[in-house]
């Protein structure tokens, strides 16, 4: 019983042993890249957020907490709440829509699955900005939907489908949905059919088999997909900027604006750190909830 994992791990260990100290030559570039291009700027952003901003730039001689105190301000608080609300709504929609699609997909033949996955991946073949502009042609006051509804005599004034939270949800859902679908589909595909069959032989109805066998076994995959989906929603920038409009700003956009338009890097840093902490907090809470289950 215990031999299988050992043999599976053996080639990996052997490669490491073959390389000896040289393994760092291969790991090195990735580590250096991560450290230089990700961790160092992130660390610097966090450090800057504790300095005051002055007309002549960042005052690195003084340390303050004022940039974080500003976050409690009603305006930024409302932006944070909106960002969370929109992100959670998109994740819930994605989960609700992905499950039936994944079940259907897993039941298709190999060729059918390949084509269907390609269709669901197609939003990623188009640049986010181009995609968002495309949505404005559909969702705008004189867009496809409003013109259609008007010509059917269903509305007099246009329905506001963009420049609000609805626009952000519609803009992000088709692309981010894929990240719930893929792990779920993989889990359903890998599910041992005997387990469902065994449940049925013990008298379980199809609904019970689904709720008590299929769902619990695919829940980790669903949760992993939902977490990826949620973090992508929290960090999304282009679609919220173009489809949400100025009145419906999300935290990533405000951080951009404070950094690059107001040129206040210390406060922009505090906003970025807040976004990171809140997103990580939600992810860790979701993982903890899954563990206690």
């Amino acid at each position: 019983m215990t031999t299988a994992p050992v043999t599976a791990a053996a080639p990996r260990a052997a490669l490491g042993a073959r390389l000896g100290g040289g393994v760092w030559l291969f790991l090195g570039p990735a580590i250096v890249l991560m450290a230089a291009a990700y961790l160092a700027p992130l660390f610097d952003t966090a450090v800057i957020s504790f300095h005051p901003n002055t007309p002549s730039g960042i005052d690195r001689g003084h340390w303050i907490l004022g940039n974080y105190a500003r976050l409690i301000d009603d305006y930024y608080w409302s932006v944070l709440v909106r960002t969370l609300r929109v992100s959670v709504i998109i994740t819930l929609f994605s989960v609700a829509l992905a499950y039936p699609v994944a079940v259907w997909l897993a039941g298709l033949g190999p060729r059918g699955q390949t084509w269907a996955i390609l269709v669901y991946m197609s939003p990623w073949f188009v640049n986010t900005v181009v995609k968002s502009f495309g949505w404005t042609l559909i969702l705008g006051n004189n867009g496809l939907i409003n013109n259609g509804l008007r010509s059917l005599g269903l509305i007099d004034a246009p329905v506001r489908l963009m420049l609000n939270e609805t626009g952000i949800v519609i803009g992000l859902l088709p692309g981010h949905f894929l990240f719930v679908l893929l792990p779920l589909w993989a889990a359903l595909k890998g599910l041992d059919g005997n387990l469902r069959w065994a449940a049925m032989t013990l008298g379980a109805r199809p609904r019970q088999v689904f709720l008590r066998v299929t769902v619990p076994l695919t829940l980790p995959a669903l949760l992993a997909g939902a977490i990826i989906n949620f973090t992508m929603n929290m960090a999304a920038f282009a679609a919220p900027a173009l489809l949400g409009g100025t009145r419906t700003r999300v935290l990533s956009f405000i951080a951009y604006q404070v950094n690059l338009e107001e040129l206040n890097w210390p406060f922009g840093g505090a906003l970025a750190v807040a976004l990171l902490v809140v997103t990580l907090g939600f992810v860790m809470a979701a993982q903890a909830a899954a563990r206690t289950r």
């Binding site: 007309p55 002549s56 404005t136 004189n142 100025t246 009145r247 338009e261 040129l263």
Partner: protein, 350 residues
Amino acid sequence: MILLSRCRLLRTVAALAVLAASAGGASAQGAGKTVYFLTWGGTVQQTLENEGWGKKFTEATGYTVQLVPKATGPEIVATAIAQKDKPQVDVVQTDLLPFLSGNDQGIFAPLDAKEIPNLEKQVDVARFHANGVMTYGDVFSIIYNPEVFAKKGWAEPKESWSELMRPEFRGMMVLPPINTTYGLYVLVTLARVNGGSEHQIGPGFEALKKIAPGVVEWPTTFARMGQFLQDGTAAVGFYSSASAAEMQKRGIPVKYVVPKPLLFTGTAAGIMKNAPNPQGARAFLNWWLSKDVMTFRATRYGNVTMNKEVTANPIPVTALADAQRIDYAHVNAQRTEWIKVFEREILPLK
């Protein structure tokens, strides 16, 4: 076998490292010939890359210009400030207001007419600071969609800033937000129309409070504003006349009026302190300010150029003597506070 593999792998890595290092060396060698120009994409990119002026610069000076394009004026300056200690760009061009805030942070070097002779050919107003020169400017305009006006039976806008206050425009207006340079001009203009100024901004905010519920969106770029004016989301906007002319050239069905007194916005250029290629930077700025380039900008993009030898300006540069200018230093100092008021008290109104 194991030893052989390890040697081969290590050799491959070493060879790759040498290759990467030599590639880096090659690009460093070429750097002396390239001038990095940090400014907007848009019409500047079109001029240099699509309309052949980049090649003309190389023919004239032997240097190559590499554009570093950004979307907004403040973004350009933010990029320049980020390189303050070790600049990677040579020449920076942006809106006058963000240029001045960059200058406050000491990122630009003084310009010398001995090394940049075309500086002498610019009108006096262009030489606003030892570290910068105004290349061209624009005047603000009220842009509107005449088809919507005809359909609604509205009179076409007159050449007056008070037109922005017309109540029938409610729900059909697009204005740049106050956190952009042009948005600051909106605020100051409204203050002036209503008896205030940048030094007494209260009337500007009061007017903005009246208008804001009727502002359908606050777009930050002229392309986005043009899109709203084209698709019927909005019928009236405020932007520079050069941008309005560019919207027309792109087939957007808009007209524009330039209200009086003229409200002027400048575009400024400077050379980065410790620029990697200072000689190339001076050669580029001198060429950019030349009669030929500026005549092209005036005829093709409707810029009001500052070069005295240019005769193709859409409005004579002398008319700018009467144009309203604002106290830039004061506006820059108040900016953060005004943005705060805008975000909290104006933006939520709908």
